[in-house]
């Protein structure tokens, strides 16, 4: 089966700053692919590039973006607009970036159905209500008459998800959908996304900086660092045997209740994420990596073992050797 989304060598820059430096992604139907990394590493820019929603000033280079087998990298904007909100949809960290404060929930949801499906008002309202029920919004009829600001953060997030899924897209891109929510609310939203993925057979690209979220929801994980995917593996493998020193450092730096005794130090990664200019060579992690050698200043090839990919001079088994 060919993947729903396939991205090859995607590059995005802002002036001389290289924000995304040649990433590959493939997501299949019914699969949750998590893109994880620290702030500024290029997660959102990658997602926006896939949706063809990059802001002014961003320059996308080369790279194929195949959606359902068709290369959409050069599709005219009119055709893109027909795809977005219909067969591919995106949700954001802050629901108010996609919900309009001036319109009721009902008019925003039915508008999507009229535009993409040419549905009549009554049918659209019925469908919107059904979708709100599906995402766990109580009293959906009443909600349709409310404005976004009258809802709590968790409810707004559910409404945004419902709106994104109205046309039963094949691909859902979710950029930090639970980052702004309380932990108890986050669990509910993640469960909802996992159920919807299963029931609708969605391909889901879920972006997060939280490895806890990744562990609990991902099928496949791509770890980003300074605009590159430095490691990519099925979720179990990535957590059981992280092969990139950055992934390993990140996993050890997370405080986990009951794991580190108080008084004991947390593992850290010294230093900070570098800014990468166009033409940057070598491994971007080398300033912070305890294993760095001169070799790491030269371009580093990707290593592949089965479904596990990582971009480091070190071969698997380095951990035992070290």
């Amino acid at each position: 089966m060919s993947p729903v989304l396939e991205v090859r060598d995607l590059r995005v820059r802002f002036g001389s700053m290289a924000a995304v430096r040649g990433i590959d992604l493939a997501i299949e139907r019914g699969q949750t692919h998590c893109l994880v990394g620290e702030s500024g590493c290029g997660k959102s820019v990658s997602a926006l590039a896939v949706m063809r929603l990059l802001p002014r000033g961003a320059k996308r280079e080369a790279g194929a973006i195949r959606f359902a087998g068709e290369d959409i990298a050069r599709l005219p904007e009119r055709a893109m607009r027909r795809l977005r909100g219909d067969r591919m949809a995106m949700i954001f960290q802050e629901p108010m970036t996609s919900l309009n404060p001036a319109y009721t929930i009902g008019s925003q949801m039915t508008e999507v159905l009229r535009a993409h499906r040419g549905m009549g008002r009554a049918a659209a309202v019925e469908r919107a209500e059904a979708m709100l029920t599906r995402v766990g919004v109580s009293a959906p009829g009443m909600r349709l008459g409310q404005y976004p600001h009258q809802l709590s953060g968790g409810l707004r997030q559910r409404v945004m998800i419902a709106t994104a899924l109205l046309c039963e897209p094949d691909l859902l891109v979710a950029d930090e959908p639970t980052t702004a929510l309380d932990v108890t609310v986050q669990v509910g939203i993640l469960k909802l996304l996992a159920d919807l993925k299963r029931d609708l057979g969605l391909a889901m690209l879920l972006i997060t900086h939280d490895l806890g979220v990744v562990a609990r929801i991902a099928d496949v994980v791509s770890v980003m660092y300074a605009g590159e995917i430095v490691e990519h593996a099925p979720v179990g493998q990535l957590f059981a045997e992280p092969l990139h020193p950055y992934t390993r450092g990140l996993l050890r730096a997370i405080p986990v209740p009951g794991k580190v005794r108080r008084g004991e130090k947390l593992a850290t990664i010294p230093g900070i994420v570098p800014r990468t200019e166009v033409g940057f060579r070598g491994c971007a992690f080398r300033d912070r990596c305890e294993f760095a050698t001169q070799e790491c200043a030269e371009p580093v090839a990707e290593r592949v073992e089965g479904a596990h990919h990582w971009r480091c001079r070190l071969a698997s088994g380095w951990l035992e050797a070290a």
Partner: protein
């Protein structure tokens, strides 16, 4: 052990107008909270957004006059002290160092400013500021930069240096690492632990992240809608939570363990609103184990405020 800082039945009530034409709302952000932090201890305060953590921090810092009750430091009422005396005893570190540091002053000046206000001689100021910067892991070169030329983690180090330069007894940290990446968060948590030991600081650490608090705190207080609903030694609260809300909070921590999937959280959907605190137990609309009595009768004050738990009065 004497109490470094104590809150005696403090409340914070705001009269808020919702929108231009809106009705007046009486927001009870902190509702009659009593807590003591013994000298040298670290207290962690955890709760969901809007439960009153930051408001409580402002009360503890004397930045907000309580609507009821008082806060005492070393037995003295905080509100009755002058600003300088307060600043020498207790200092804050906030979540967003970008907005708490003056962008037009160099790092060195920012850290030296509290010393100037305290009347420390100019020659001594520079030296003490630089030495404090080095204690938080910043080089003398960084003293000449502006906050905008530093990373988020470095800015938080500056905020910590500024808070400690007068060598206060107590540090109140409100979400000090929430704006930082995990790899940097770990650096700052280690730094706080190290400084706490070497300055014998009393620490209050506020966070919505249980794991962060667990790493630092000796004692934990769980806040819900303006009240502390459970408190106790950190180990025991984590090992054996009693309050249904504490249990839900703990269950919702997503540890990086694949295969566990997402936990079942039988919590009600009701949104807590401090302008409309439910009668009886304030948690009852969301509580999975509520009994009829919970809707009408507030649980007794104690270390666990729940009808179903035998609690020790506080």
């Amino acid at each position: 052990m004497s109490a470094a800082i104590e809150a005696n039945g403090v409340s914070a009530v705001f009269n808020q107008r919702a929108g231009t034409f809106g009705v007046r709302r009486r927001v009870v952000a902190v509702d009659d909270v009593s807590l003591t932090v013994p000298e040298g201890m670290a207290l962690g305060i955890v709760g969901e957004s809007g439960c009153g953590k930051s408001t409580f921090a402002r009360l503890l810092l004397g930045l907000l006059a309580p609507s009821g009750g008082d806060v005492r430091v070393g037995g003295q009422v905080l509100q009755a002290m002058d600003r300088q005396a307060r600043a020498r005893l207790i200092q804050p570190v906030f979540q967003d160092p970008a907005s708490s540091l003056n962008p037009r002053r160099r790092v060195g000046e920012i850290v030296a400013l509290p010393l100037r206000a305290a009347g420390v001689a100019r020659s001594e100021r520079r030296e003490r500021a630089l030495s404090m910067l080095s204690r938080v892991g910043l080089t003398p070169e960084m003293a000449t930069r502006y906050p905008g030329q530093l990373s988020g983690g470095q800015r938080q180090r500056v905020a910590i240096a500024r808070a400690l330069v007068l060598e206060p007894r107590i540090l109140i940290c409100d979400e000090p690492t929430s704006a930082l990446d995990v790899s940097v968060q770990a650096q700052i948590l280690n730094l706080l632990a190290e400084l706490r030991a070497s300055f014998n600081l009393t620490l209050v650490m506020i966070s919505h992240n249980l794991a962060v608090v667990e790493h630092v705190a000796d004692e934990i207080a769980i806040m819900y809608l303006g009240r502390v609903v459970e408190r106790g030694a950190a180990e025991s609260v984590f090992a054996a939570p009693h309050h249904p809300y504490t249990k839900a909070l703990l269950a919702s921590v997503l540890t990086p363990e694949p295969g566990l999937g997402l936990p079942d959280l039988p919590l009600g959907e009701a949104v807590p609103d401090p302008a409309n605190i439910p009668a009886g137990c304030r948690f009852h609309p969301r509580c999975p184990v509520a009994i009829p009595r919970c809707a009408t009768e507030a649980p007794a004050r104690g270390d666990v405020e729940c009808h179903l738990v035998q609690s020790v009065p506080t």
